[in-house]
Symmetry: C2
Subunit: 281 residues, 2 copies
């Protein structure tokens, strides 16, 4: 497998990071991740825009420019010959002189298969556990996922799919997904603050608003008592229904009609996107 | 320079971590750090105990046992010939199959010079900026220092030394140090919850309690209005006075008599420690 390291395509075994990178010593770094279908990346420009914007926020200068990176990604996935898959791009704090200061960042991009949730999650909806937590610099896709991995045994024990983060009851997001409800009046609502600006979220809000009332606003755990549906979105989740949060069953306890409709519409939206002209042009 | 990698002493350039370690992909890992004087480690058993306890908490199995590691550290600092210095030990989440699951951890230990704060910080005391923040799994020395590094430009602009973390006004700790006040009655108080169990803190509380009333309890930002002194401790800080938090001047705005006394006593305590029989025996 060929991976990108700095400005070059190299063998995957050549991608290694020295002991004093700030990502290893201090967890300082960011990433982005997109999938592609039949060699056609989905929403790549959105992901690259977020990558470079996140880099600015963390004061990390990506060693490869956007246009060159896009071309190299194209070459990587073509040469690797994996028809459908995903690309993960990592930007680290770089080799630090004093175990604290930012340096020249290391950048690499890997090519991997995509893993979607099991079919039964799509059919029955998922259970979430609420967790009082706010991600560090939440609008940046930092590499800090410590809380999610730390709590994984509790999720497994509870038969839950993921954590639902909130602060004093105000819901923000999941470890790796955005959150939505369908309220009693049929409006799709999604948290507006302290979230990652998800790329799937951006596109979902766009096409959903052509068919439903949509609102970005605060949502609380208390609101879940009366909502009719809840769902999440993410690059590897697409649209996935939520049937339960802690002990609280959402609506009918199964994927609702709005969620099911959005699941179908999203598949069509993605197909239209990847079927259109080569997005590398 | 020789470093420890896994169970072996290797050249420092051989210490590199592959692209799919959970520390790089997800910031999942922990570390510990101690200093040594004249080849004699300070409080090494406390640091090793915390390292292995932290590993248990994060479900990471250190690939080298405690006794073997201690011997290898001894060999490393002897062979490197740096008389005074520090050892940093990193334990990562390991090479992950799915960018999420814990695997066999990577472990390495490096040997580096110690950098203490500038003399003027010890003479005049430091300024802190308060920050509403709670470290993830605060009793574990995780590698997540994103917030501290992210806020560094604000510290520099304000002439501040570090952040003082609190939740709704209840103080916990600094990015890399424990916090203490001397109250109006002359009692030394230090936060008891949501903190790293500092090794310097442990020893300071021990010897300070022979001379002063000492209490582990909640402390709020509001309490700083009336305290007589404040100070911090840490492996590379030793005992360091705090003269100001945000716009609030602490006591007389300079190192107070209790802090100055503890600074001296700590130097003597460390000297007695490293002068005694070889702590590797």
């Amino acid at each position: 497998m060929k991976f990108i390291f700095g400005k070059k395509l190299v063998d995957q075994n050549e991608v290694a990071i020295g002991y004093n990178d700030l990502a290893l010593l201090r967890g300082y770094g960011l990433f982005d991740f997109f999938r592609y279908v039949n060699f056609q990346p989905l929403f790549i420009d959105d992901h690259l825009e977020r990558l470079y914007r996140s880099a600015d926020r963390l004061r990390l200068r990506c060693p490869i420019g956007r246009r060159q990176l896009k071309m190299l990604i194209h070459r990587m996935i073509r040469e690797n010959g994996m028809k459908d898959g995903a690309v993960r791009m990592i930007l680290t704090g770089g080799y630090t002189e004093n175990a604290w200061s930012i340096s020249r960042p290391n950048f690499y991009a890997t090519n991997e298969p995509v893993r979607f949730p099991d079919a039964h999650h799509y059919e029955k909806g998922i259970k979430l556990l609420s967790e009082s937590y706010l991600r560090d610099v939440p609008d940046v896709k930092t590499i800090n996922y410590l809380m999610g991995i730390y709590r994984q045994p509790e999720l497994d024990a509870a038969g839950a799919f993921d954590l639902l983060f909130h602060q004093d009851g105000r819901i923000s997001e999941l470890t790796r997904s955005n959150f939505y409800i369908v309220d009693e009046g049929g409006t799709i609502k999604t948290p507006v603050r302290d979230i990652l600006q998800g790329v799937t979220r951006k596109h979902l809000l766009k096409f959903a608003s052509e068919h439903y009332p949509v609102m970005e606003t605060d949502i609380t755990l208390n609101d879940l008592k009366t909502v009719k549906e809840a769902f999440i979105t993410g690059t590897t989740k697409k649209v996935l229904a939520v049937r339960q949060v802690d002990d609280r069953v959402i609506g009918e306890g199964q994927p609702g009609p709005v969620t099911l409709d959005l699941m179908k519409r999203f598949e069509l939206y993605c197909k239209a996107w990847t079927d259109k002209e080569d997005s590398f042009n």
